[in-house]
């Protein structure tokens, strides 16, 4: 069993699976439920779904699609996107999602994190921190699928998030996302060293070696993969895949 979790992170846009680059332009990947079936075959240990248009459109999750996804997945699944109240989180949880992911709602009202923790237990609450360099070059946390600058620093916010009761942090580098250029190790380490809850590093993975770096140098407890699991290779076609266990074992045992 791997000591580090490697989690495919899939993006939902309306009722399609897509993949973005730097939270910007996107390409179609396929039908959500159908794609779950392929991940079942690949025997990944955990899956994550994020609805990237829910916050932007100010709407709730698409429960119908979520029900399909939850029923299709033979492994634990987390969901984020448009979770703004405990009631919504309740509904998502009851559909069969083990963990809830929040960002925008948490930045708007940090006490929300505590409410969710109280309702579901901290282990089911993941706060997603999306980071983009400001014009001055400093890392800032962003809300609403990367469109709104909260002006907060990732390390500061991470500490508060932990204090408020989050179980995990999903840390995404917007600048690296979809680029295959490797993780932002500096960013990951700064946050992972600042908190004692697991940090899932995401954004930029291009190879198994990158995964190793995020863990060994960045001190990430887990790694999220996007482009790597939906494209055959950088610049090539859509082909759902997952790194071979022996290759992962070599870098993260």
């Amino acid at each position: 069993m791997l000591r580090t979790r490697v989690i495919p992170c899939l993006l939902l846009r309306n009722e399609s699976l897509v993949k973005t680059v730097r939270f910007g332009r996107f390409g179609y990947i396929g039908d959500p439920a159908n794609t779950c079936r392929i991940f079942n075959e690949l025997e990944v240990d955990e899956l994550s779904f994020l609805d990237i248009s829910a916050s932007r459109e100010g709407r709730e999750p698409n429960y119908r699609i979520l029900a399909e996804i939850a029923n299709e997945c033979f492994m634990p699944v987390s969901y984020g996107g448009g979770i703004s109240t405990v009631l919504i989180a309740e509904r998502v949880h009851r559909l069969g999602f083990e963990k809830m992911v929040v960002n925008t709602a948490a930045l708007a009202r940090p006490a929300f994190i505590t409410e969710l923790s109280a309702a579901f237990g901290s282990q089911s609450v993941i706060v997603s921190i999306d980071v983009k360099a400001s014009v001055m070059g400093r890392p800032h946390c962003r809300a609403v699928s990367g469109t709104r600058d909260s002006r907060r620093s990732p390390v500061d916010w991470a500490k508060e998030v932990r204090d408020r009761g989050a179980g995990e942090i999903l840390l995404t580098s917007i600048d690296r996302e979809g680029t295959w250029k490797g993780f932002d190790i500096e960013l990951i380490r700064s946050v992972a060293d600042a908190v004692d809850i697991p940090v899932i590093a995401q954004g930029g993975a291009g190879s198994v070696e990158d995964i190793g770096k995020a863990v060994n140098e960045g001190h990430a407890s887990a790694v999220g993969l996007g482009s790597m699991v939906v494209y055959q290779k950088k610049g090539m076609g859509v082909l759902v895949n997952f790194p071979q266990p022996h290759m992962l074992e070599a870098v993260i045992g």
Binding site: M1, D45, A70, N71, C73, F74, G121
Partner: protein, 201 residues
């Protein structure tokens, strides 16, 4: 036909899909007559002990379930909370369990290094031979998410053990009644094998 009992709690859809995937027909039902006709029963469960027992009783299912399990003795599989319901009682709540397996349910102790609930993949090691676990090997692991664990009265009822701080019974068997603490329906390959074994009993 394997009948998955629907009393309103549990990953029913996922269990059904996994059974379908391994070619085993099954039905989800809350209907007493349908349960009556069951060849095998799966009792799923996610959530609180009392809520579950209350729902089962309120739905009028108790009698038919007792009959299937204790009189007809069809194979029964309790999953997660479903396994805890098989025991006499639980630290969680005030209700009595189904009491089909001589065992009790305790809460994990707080304040140790390990967080509660136990959530994540972990190994389940065979404690003794059982039809359900015949093909387990050193790699076999499952997905767990629970705050309470089961302890059997007699060691020979324990078929699987898992370590999370302490060692606890992650699988039990009493005659035709089986229980697993983990979620086979969330444990891909390993879960499929286990459910297939159950279907073949």
């Amino acid at each position: 036909m394997i009948t998955i009992v629907d009393y309103g709690m549990g990953n029913l859809g996922s269990i059904q899909n996994m059974l379908k995937r391994v070619g085993v027909p099954c039905v989800i039902t809350s209907d007493i007559d349908a349960i009556e006709a069951a060849e095998k029963v799966i009792l799923p469960g996610v959530g609180a002990f009392d809520t579950a027992m209350n729902r089962i009783n309120a739905a009028g299912m108790r009698d038919v379930l007792d009959h299937k399990a204790l009189v007809e003795k069809v194979p029964v599989l309790g999953i997660c909370l479903g396994m805890q319901l098989l025991t006499r009682c639980s630290d969680e709540g005030n209700s009595l369990g189904l009491n089909w397996v001589p065992a009790v349910t305790h809460r994990f102790a707080e304040g140790t290094d390990l967080k509660v609930p136990h959530m994540g993949w972990n190994q389940a090691r065979p404690a003794q031979a059982s039809a359900l676990t015949a093909d387990f090997d050193d790699d076999t692991r499952f997905y767990f998410v629970h705050s309470y664990f089961v302890t059997v009265d007699e060691p020979d009822r324990s078929i699987l053990k898992t370590t999370y701080g302490i060692e606890f019974d992650s699988g039990v068997q009493h005659e035709n009644i089986f229980g697993v603490q983990f979620h086979p329906e969330k444990s891909h390959r390993y879960g499929m094998k286990l459910l297939k074994r159950f279907a073949e009993i």
